[in-house]
Symmetry: C2
Subunit: 418 residues, 2 copies
């Protein structure tokens, strides 16, 4: 008889929605301080926007379908291709670097696993039009300060950073041709989550010798390498130095195991993790200098990160950093005499007009019940409309202090906002 929601999709009852809005508020606040402007795109896009970037294999993970106009479309699994399309279409309208953020809801047809959702909200921040490493610094500073804005410290999270150009130089020095690098990154990205034998099998399939695999794994583990990519290493060093200058060095760790799974990253890449290593990545991103051109034809360097609401929410909950959700009303109007209902209605409206959050019992209810509602709804004051109304007064009860006084109706707003 009764209908259910789809698996992997969340209902946000008011308490859940309040926590979601708390997370959104903090995201927006961090973006404001950094001068990022908010944008958004459509939740439904042509499928090709995603396959052009990620290949056809992504389709198995999408909510895609053919619409009534015979277009093959998909619910957005990420916002970056939309951003690339939008910026490319109006490139000349915006001063560089473009610093934009968004809070899209994203959709993936994930296999059903414990805690794996098929939708989540994500804080997306991107910088477009700046190839200097200073942009990478700006972006990762925003990432760190966004998490710090929730009360998280360096004892809670760390941003692990690497650079695909450093990796590329090292792989070339090992004799691995550039056309195999993406495949190697795909394997390295999963090292920590996969059994060693699986990793070895994948390298075998790629035709990488045992000695070379050992070198790759050692590099992934230690970060020690010869001077295979001096320019890239110099850039990475400048990045690390600048993070320290900004005062955020303790949040950053060079870690070559971070390469990111997606094919399109071209430079510094990073992922934020809880220090205890209990949760999936809190956030991840990096530089993708070729994507805007691929999608829009306009050649602009770019970089960005995404931070989902789910893992972040789990971490904040673990650390006791989620606020207690409390209902708040400025006043609950208690109608003590039913014949004064019209006057009460007028008063409620006047108080709301003055900006106060007010409520009242829509239909006749016992006094005790009305006070119960006032309390349940978190009202600071109960305003009783009764006999004293004839003298132009109402009784104002402070529900916290448990005091009461008669107040002239003309002075009510003043009293309730003091």
């Amino acid at each position: 008889m009764s209908l259910q929601s789809l698996p992997g999709f969340r209902d946000f009852y008011p308490d859940d929605c309040a926590l979601r809005n708390y997370i959104f508020l903090n995201w927006r606040e961090a973006a404001r301080r950094y001068g990022f402007r908010e944008y958004d795109g459509p939740p439904l896009e042509p499928l090709e926007l995603y396959t052009r970037k990620s290949g056809d294999e992504i389709v198995s993970q999408l909510f895609d379908f053919t619409d009534k106009g015979e277009r093959h479309v998909a619910m957005r699994p990420e916002l970056t291709p939309t951003l690339a399309r939008m910026v490319g279409a109006r490139e000349r309208d915006f001063k560089k670097p473009i610093k934009w953020f968004a809070i899209p809801q994203l959709f993936r047809y994930e296999k059903q696993q414990r805690g794996r959702l098929r939708e989540h909200f994500q804080f997306n921040a991107d910088i477009i039009g700046e190839k200097g490493v200073e942009a990478d610094v700006e972006l990762v500073c925003l990432l760190v300060d966004t998490l710090r804005g929730f009360g998280l410290t360096h004892e809670d999270f760390v941003v692990r950073v690497s650079d695909r150009r450093v990796w590329a130089g090292y792989l070339e020095s090992l004799g691995i041709a550039p056309d195999k690098h993406a495949a190697v990154f795909g394997i390295v990205d999963k090292i920590e989550r996969e059994d060693g034998a699986v990793t070895q099998k994948k390298f075998d399939a790629l035709g990488v010798s045992s000695a070379t695999v050992a070198a790759i794994l050692k590099f992934a583990d230690t970060g020690e390498f010869a001077s295979a990519a001096p320019a890239a290493m110099e850039t990475l060093k400048r990045f690390l130095d600048a993070m320290a200058h900004a005062g955020l060095g303790q949040f950053i760790r060079f870690d070559p195991k971070i390469v990111r799974g997606l094919a399109y990253y071209t430079g510094i890449v990073f992922e934020a993790f809880d220090v205890k290593g209990e949760l999936r990545a809190i956030a991840g991103g990096g530089r993708y200098d070729n994507l805007v051109k691929l999608v829009s034809g306009v050649d602009l360097p770019a970089l960005g990160f995404g931070m989902g609401d789910v893992v972040l929410g789990e971490l904040l909950k673990q650390r006791g950093l989620l606020p207690k959700v409390e209902r708040r009303l400025d006043a609950y109007i208690v109608v003590a005499k039913e014949e004064l209902r019209s006057q009460a209605l007028k008063l409620v409206h006047d108080l709301r007009e003055a900006g106060l959050a007010c409520d009242y019992a829509l239909t006749p209810a016992k006094m005790g019940k009305q006070f119960e509602m006032a309390s349940a709804f978190g009202a600071r004051f109960a305003v009783v409309i009764g006999d004293e109304w004839a003298q132009g007064q109402a009784t104002v009860k402070s529900l916290a202090a448990r005091t009461e006084e008669k107040v002239d109706v003309a002075r009510l707003v003043e009293k309730l906002t003091e």
Copy 2:
């Protein structure tokens, strides 16, 4: 080469997004004053959630598809069925009346027409668990005050109100059986937008005599009727009186032509229009006492309205009530000597840490260019890091007042927030 968005879907560039957020902010502010709490549901739901309520004919207007788990699903065309499902599932957890609002993005596969979008955002406010007309008053007061919150007055909009129970009584007195009422409402709902001959043809098809059609049209036009539905008329009168008591009588007009197209309304119905009658409805809603039971099996009276962002945005634009979108920064840091870049980076971070919105040129740029950016980004102050840094000072220029002074670095936050 470059990819396009889908027809009927909007990109929100930062200026557009700022106006969208302005509308959302005003919606939330009105809801706050009225004690409505925010909720949300999934943008994708089982198709049956919509067909159970609206019949199979709605499918032609939906973005529906079969997902990879063989479920027939649809992108939400409205939020009310989701609300009914959610409330029904946890009915005992919430004190009545439940007053909730949401700002969902909704999707309809509309035929492509000028200005017709396939998505929009909608302010949804609903009251559940209260059958008294006082709930209808509360809801319509919220509707009126939401629009007033944007600066609109009774010279800009009017809420036209009717009651399906009054209509039902009148139709019965004309000898039209209850099973034909929904069809009659479907015809009456379109009277204003359709040619008279079309209306007549529809009534003919329904087997309604010419004399009866004339009576219906006269009633729709004048609201004059015999005492066919005294109880319903008494309720409607109490509604109109209460709106006047609240001080909002001038925004309300009894108008029987308003019946709403959807089948599920059961009582008072209403639509808000611009007074000039140039635009489609700004908002609409009414009482739907049977829907929660239909969807969830839990019998609860309910009522609600929806207000879209598109028509409202057009009206606000016409009336000059949309705010000018302006970028705002507290400070733009101008790096006058490149060797001080690390210090500038530290300062930018310290200012952001103090809550200030700051930006700076990520890579070396001429002083003139940097001041240009400061101005373009709406900075109140430019903070110049140059020779005076050796004395622990920076030069603070007010971009509006065109004044400047040297300020000790330790006093910078104080100066920039004064």
